[in-house]
Structure formats: C-alpha cells, structure tokens
C-alpha cells in the first residue's frame, strides 16, 4: 500500500508534537495532530503537544481503569499532561527529560534506571523504553484519528538534535522501531527541521531573501538543551541551494534553567519574608516564574510584576504569598546570566568538578549561551583564529518567544561582525513551539514531491582508536592513534572503504575499539591517521564492539580486517570490519553497557 501521508514527529525533551501532510497535494498543507492524553485520572483531553513525561502509578491507582486511553486498557502508567502534573506531586514516580538521558554516556541507556533515584518498589524503565512509550502514544493517537492510514504504511520523519551522537541516534532508532514506526523512517536534525518550517512559510521567496555565500545560524534553545547549526547558501547549476556546514556540541542548558534561576531568586525573597516554601510550592513557583519571565522579558512588558505562590489547601487567598520583582533585575539575572555580552574571542569556563561527581545529567558548568555560541562560531571559521559571521539567524524554541532574549543575542552577534554584514533575523511567520515537527513534515513532503532539500551529510568526522604496536611499558598506556573512518560531510546512502594497515581480530572473543568524533576537523580523509591532536578536537564516544564467531575452518585465530563505513539513507552511521582473506564481514555495535563510575 502506498503512503497517503507524511508524518513529522518532534520527540522533544519536554514536549512531543506530531504534524502531518497529505502527499497527493499541489502544495504542502501541514497540520498538527490533536493528541488525546490523560490530564487527570480518568480524564482525557486532546492537545497539540504531548508533554514528554511518564508517571508510573501505584498498583491501586490504575486498578479501575483510571489510566485507560481510547486505545489502551488496564494501564499502570500515564503519559503526557497528567504525568507532567504528577512530576511536581510525586517526583519519585515520574520520568522527565528521558531524551537527555538518551545521550548521557555515563549510564547504560538500555537498563531500567528511570526515574533516577526512585524507590525500589517502582518498576523503573530505561531511557530507551521511555522514548518508545512517547512514540507509541503518538502512533496510537495517529491511528485513532486516521484508522484508514496505519502508520506502517505512511512515510515518517523523526527529528533528533543535530548534536546527537551516533549512539543516541541508534538508541532513538531502536525506540522508534519498537514503537511501530515503519522501518524506512528518516531521521532529520532538529535545527534543519526548523529551517524547513521557515522555508515552508516563505514558499519560494527565500531565494530573494538569501544570497550565495551567506550563512544562516539556527539557534534552537529548547527547555533543556541548546542546539546550534550553521547552514550556508551555495549555488548549484545556477540556482541557490542550502548546505548544512556545522553543528554544535550537545549543550545541556535551556529555558528550564532560566526559570529555575528566577525561581531561586524569588525563593530567596520569600525566605527574607520568613516564608519557607515546601516542594509543591517550589514547583508552583517555577510555573509562576516561567509566566513572569515571559511577560517581563517582552518588549513593552510591565515594569514590575508580583510573583505569587498560591496557598496549597482550599484556602487559596489566605495561603497565597507573593513578592514583587522588577523588570530590570529579572533582565539582569536572566539576560546577563544566560546571554552575557562577550567578545568573539571569549570562551565558556570549564569547571571540572573535583573528586566525586554525582552521576545524573551532566548540565553545562557555564550557562552562558553566548559564550558557547562564540566558541562554536570560532571552531567553524574559515581559518584558525577567525570566527565565522552568520549573516542571518533563525531563532527556534519556546524560550525565544521573549523579545529581550532575541534582541540580546542579535546585539551580541552584531558586535562580533567587525565590519562584516551585521546578522539579521530571518523574517517570516514563526511558530516556535511546533516548528520542528511542522518542518519535519514539510521536509518529508518536499522529499517526496521533489522540493527543496538542505544538503548536509554527517556533521562530524569519526575515528577508530588504534593502539600502536610496540613494547609495552609497564604503567604507561600504549600510545593511541586515531584512524579516520568517516569523513565530515559523508552523504546519506553512501559507503566508504577505509584503506588502512590491517588490524588483527581474534575470533570467538569480543573485540572493542575506542571511538572518537570531531566536529572541527573537517579535512581529514578516510584512512588518515592522527598521531596527536589538540585537547577538545576529538571527543570520545562509547566504544564499538563485535564478537566474531569462531570458525572451525580457519586455523589462525587472528583475522586481518579493514574497516568499511556506511551512512544509511535514514541517516544512521554503520561501521563494518571486513576480512581481507575470507568473505567475512562483521558489523560493529555501539557498546552502551559501559561500566558506570560509582
């Protein structure tokens, strides 16, 4: 059966959205799916976004079908808005930010570890399963609304952060396949999706708004993460084309951090009044602070606003406490704290936590997003020591609804331009909450109907660590060299043999390779070997491993192999070991069962 629809799914850290467009149309008409979800026990409401939260109820709670959905009975857990409420009321039983855990290298992401620090009686689930649960809900909501168009027959585009490493992508793919997405679904980077959403609103007018060699920075500040991407305008056969030239590192700093910072300031004010807030009130304060942040940071917003925490019991007015905050101090705290003015040469501070570091999400030690931005632009300059100056910027993410934050980012970037064309925002209609999902659906539609596509390929080069042969010196690790196996920009649907000195593998035993990536080294070719590199140039990922079956016919226990790399049509990276003297070929898998440090 042929696909009738293209579905764009934004599996977000805090909210998930599904957009869709019919395929047999002249122009893409992208719509948002209303997602039925529990908003309270036994109460179902449809909303355009599904909060990415899971609440694991007690045995009694789900007994009478309180967590039932139109398509599921006898549930013991709830997903969506109800789970988000419960995150405040019963944090030990609620999972949030599963996506951030998905790219956290220091834990085994297939093990049931969430909710982190939950009591023993809670049946924990893994970050992969949590992602699967959200996707299953979206799939069920789709099939509930479109019973004649089962998802297995449709085309699906699923977005991931541009900064997701191959392991996080692989785990996302696992979750998506388990949730029933068709095998041929495509992964698309979120900032690109946001840019597609903009392209969809401009029609073909973008060709008048951008010129050859101009660069667009996509600055996507979500609830928990910041994702940076650079797209260059190029010319191909006389027409304009877009090419994604760089992506930033995974930055765990976003709008939630701002809300918490403001909440902390306000809590200190309450403390001065002698009011101690309980945990429930603290969460309610967080909610009020988000609203206050939005109105105070808006152009022409009020000079002062009172932030209240409502009384907990039914005596609401009597129990309400409030403090007044003024615009200036909130702007100082948030705008200067998260978007400090800085020069293009400034860099974020690295504070290594000394000694024991608690496992948990590795939040950025420096919340200065402008500093991370300066480092990103410098890393991708034409030559060392010179930054790239984007001519345009596309803002995305709910946080950037606040004018003050957008204008600060612009102001800072314009100061860096040094006589170059000052950075301008891309004009058009922006739906910051749903752009990624809408853009994903538009991308799928354009791909099917032969519309505009952003070229990209892989955003990093990848390396396998090879220990040099030679005499072992007790106490000293053997020097490590890095063999480039995937060049920067390698395109989807291509593969590459890596000519190299042969590596000997032992049959019947698991083998492991250390695995590195670089977002900066763009000119390394496959088979290039690095003997030394600057700190920060290469980033180590989880190791790759394979167990080669013992072969009775082969006398020699060692098999000489070379590497072969592949980027699938779906954007997945695969590495293979190919035997040079037998027909054998083995796929290397990412080893996420890494020992956790404790």
């Amino acid at each position: 059966m042929t696909a009738k629809y293209i579905l764009g799914i934004d599996l977000g850290t805090t909210n998930s959205v599904l957009s869709y467009a019919a395929l047999d149309t002249e122009a893409a008409d992208v719509k948002l799916l209303d997602i039925p979800q529990l908003v309270s026990a036994s109460t179902i409401e449809s909303r355009t976004s599904l909060p990415s939260f899971t609440y694991l109820g007690t045995v009694d709670e789900g007994r009478d079908g309180a967590f039932n959905l139109p398509w599921a009975e006898a549930r013991t857990f709830a997903v969506g808005r109800f789970a988000q409420y419960r995150a405040a009321e019963a944090p030990d039983r609620t999972i949030g930010a599963a996506k951030s855990w998905l790219c956290h290298q220091r834990v085994d992401r297939r093990q049931p570890i969430l909710p982190w620090n939950a009591p023993d009686e809670v049946d924990k689930i893994s970050p992969v399963t949590a992602s699967q649960v959200y996707l299953e809900h979206l799939v069920a909501a789709w099939e509930d609304a479109f019973p004649d168009a089962p998802i297995s027959d449709q085309q699906v585009v699923l977005t991931v952060p541009a900064s997701f490493d191959p392991v996080a992508r692989e785990l996302t793919r696992e979750a998506a396949t388990a949730a029933g997405l068709p095998a041929g679904f495509v992964l698309l980077e979120e900032p690109q999706a946001a840019l597609y959403a903009w392209l969809a609103t401009t029609g073909d007018d973008w060709r008048k708004m951008l010129k050859v060699n101009e660069t667009v920075l996509v600055c996507d500040i979500g609830g928990g993460t910041t994702d940076l991407t650079l797209v260059r305008v190029t010319e191909e056969a006389g027409t304009l084309a877009l090419e994604r030239v760089a992506v930033g590192n995974h930055l765990l700093v976003g709008g939630d951090n701002m809300d918490l910072t403001l909440a902390h300031m306000v809590a200190t004010e309450f403390d001065k009044q002698g009011v101690k807030l309980n945990p429930w009130q603290s969460v309610s304060l967080w909610h009020s602070c988000r609203a206050a942040k939005e109105s105070l940071l808006e152009e022409g917003g009020p000079e002062k606003q009172s932030i209240s925490v409502l009384g907990r019991g039914s005596k609401l007015i009597g129990g309400t406490v409030s403090v007044e905050v003024d615009r200036q101090s909130v702007a100082n705290l948030l705008v200067d704290g998260f978007l400090p003015p800085c020069s293009a040469a400034d860099r974020p501070q690295k504070q290594r936590a000394s000694g024991f570091q608690e496992i948990g999400l590795p939040f950025e030690s420096d919340p200065g997003i402008t500093l991370h931005l300066a480092a990103f632009l410098a890393a991708h300059g034409e030559s060392t020591g010179s930054s790239i100056f984007p001519t345009h910027v596309l803002f995305n993410g709910g946080v950037l609804k606040a004018d003050t934050l957008r204008s600060r980012l612009l102001e800072v970037m314009r100061q860096w331009c040094e006589g170059n064309q000052p950075t301008n925002p891309l004009e058009g209609v922006h739906d910051l909450d749903h752009a990624v999902s809408r853009g994903a659906a538009y991308y799928g539609w354009a791909k099917d109907q032969g519309g505009m596509r952003i070229r990209g390929g892989v955003a990093r080069s990848y390396y396998v660590g090879i220990e040099t042969a030679g005499l072992a010196i007790p106490g000293a690790p053997r020097p490590l060299r890095a063999l480039c196996v995937v060049p920067f920009g390698m395109e989807e649907g291509t593969q590459c043999d890596v000519p190299s000195g042969e590596v000997g593998l032992v049959l019947g035993e698991p083998v492991q390779f250390r695995f590195f990536s670089s977002a900066i080294r763009k000119s390394d070719r496959p088979s290039d070997v690095l003997n030394a590199w600057e700190e920060g140039e290469l980033v180590e990922s989880v190791p790759l491993e394979a167990t080669l079956p013992a072969d009775a016919d082969v006398e020699d226990a060692h098999v000489p192999v070379t590497f072969q790399s592949r980027v699938t049509e779906l954007g997945m990276l695969e590495l293979w070991c190919v035997s040079t003297n037998t027909p054998g070929r083995w796929k290397l898998e990412f080893s996420v069962r890494e020992e956790t440090e404790s």
Binding site: S40, S42, T43, I44, A66, K315, T320, S322
Partner: protein, 180 residues
C-alpha cells in the same frame, strides 16, 4: 390533509406520554410556541425524570478549571477576611490560567469583530440570540447603534472526556494527602 395529521400528532404528544417519547426519539420536536397555551400549569408532573448520567459535562468543566486554575478554590473562599491586595495577588494567577483553559477548550472569540463604542449595524435578519438590542428600538432591521459589547462565542467545544466510576462522578477535586 397534513394539517389534521399535524394536529393529531400535536394532541397525541400532549396527552399520550409514550407517543411523546417516541416522537422525541425520532428527533421531532413539535414547535414549543404552538404548545405554550395548553401547556401552562398542565406540565405532567408525574413524568418519571429521565435518569441523568451521573457524570455531567458541567462537572468535568468545573474539575478542569479547578485543576488548571484553582477556580473553585478561589470562588468558594469568603473574601471578607482579605485585603484587596491579597485578593489581587491570588487572582492574577487564577485568572491567567482560567483564560488559558477557556481558550484551549472553547477558543472564545468576539461575536462581531468591531471596536466597542463605535457605530455598528446589525444584519437584516437580526437574530435575538446573537444581538441584544437596547434603547429605543423602532422600525425594521437592520438596526444601527453604538456597539456596547462585542459578545463572546465559543469557536470550538472540546471538553475533556471522563471515564471514571459512578461513585466519583460528582468529585470536582480529589482530597490531597501528602505522605511524608
């Protein structure tokens, strides 16, 4: 002769309970205006009340407003003990969240898209449910006058669906107990 048929239906509806309920099931409702005169003081009080479903959409709406905005808490609280400032501080959040909830469920918008205070003309077929005319109403529609209130209308109606047990059907907000 349809007039006799109509009259026959009319009187059967009025005096034959079973027939009346059959008509109702058919979705045919005789013109209430035509029935008014006979009806006065003669409403059959003996009719068994239709068994109301235990859960009513009105309860679901109340529960929603309480959950999202704590609407019931604030209107049930006696105001006498509090200063205007105290009431104001608590009300800001409640009103904001009530507004967002109504927007989501009903997408409430003005009935006429015009500025209050300006001169406004009604359509020729002015509907009393959409337009309330005040002052000196003379002559034939369309009427022209000052727009005092632009009216409100729901442009959607998407109440949450409730599927709980009957003994919880009237619960607007559950008891909350925090376990140490």
């Amino acid at each position: 002769m349809r007039i006799f048929q109509a009259l026959s239906v009319f009187f059967q509806v009025l005096f034959n309970r079973d027939f009346a309920s059959q008509v109702q099931q058919l979705g045919i409702t005789p013109d209430p205006a035509a029935m008014k005169v006979e009806d006065a003081g003669k409403t059959p009080a003996t009719l068994p009340k239709p068994k109301a479903p235990l859960r009513n959409d009105a309860i679901t709406l109340l529960a929603t407003l309480q959950r999202e905005a704590r609407f019931v808490d604030i209107v049930m609280e006696p105001l006498g003990d509090y200063s205007d400032a105290q009431v104001g501080a608590a009300t800001r959040d409640v009103l904001r969240d009530c507004g967002q909830t109504l927007e989501r469920l009903f997408a409430i918008s003005p009935v006429v898209d015009a500025e209050e205070g300006a001169s406004h003309e009604t359509p020729a077929d002015v509907d009393a449910a959409r337009y309330r005319l005040t002052g000196n109403i003379e002559g034939e529609p369309p009427y022209r006058g000052q727009l005092v209130h632009h009216g409100w209308q729901a442009t959607r109606c998407e109440l949450p669906k409730w599927s709980g047990k009957n003994d919880a059907a009237l619960i607007v907000a559950p008891v909350e107990i925090e376990i140490e």
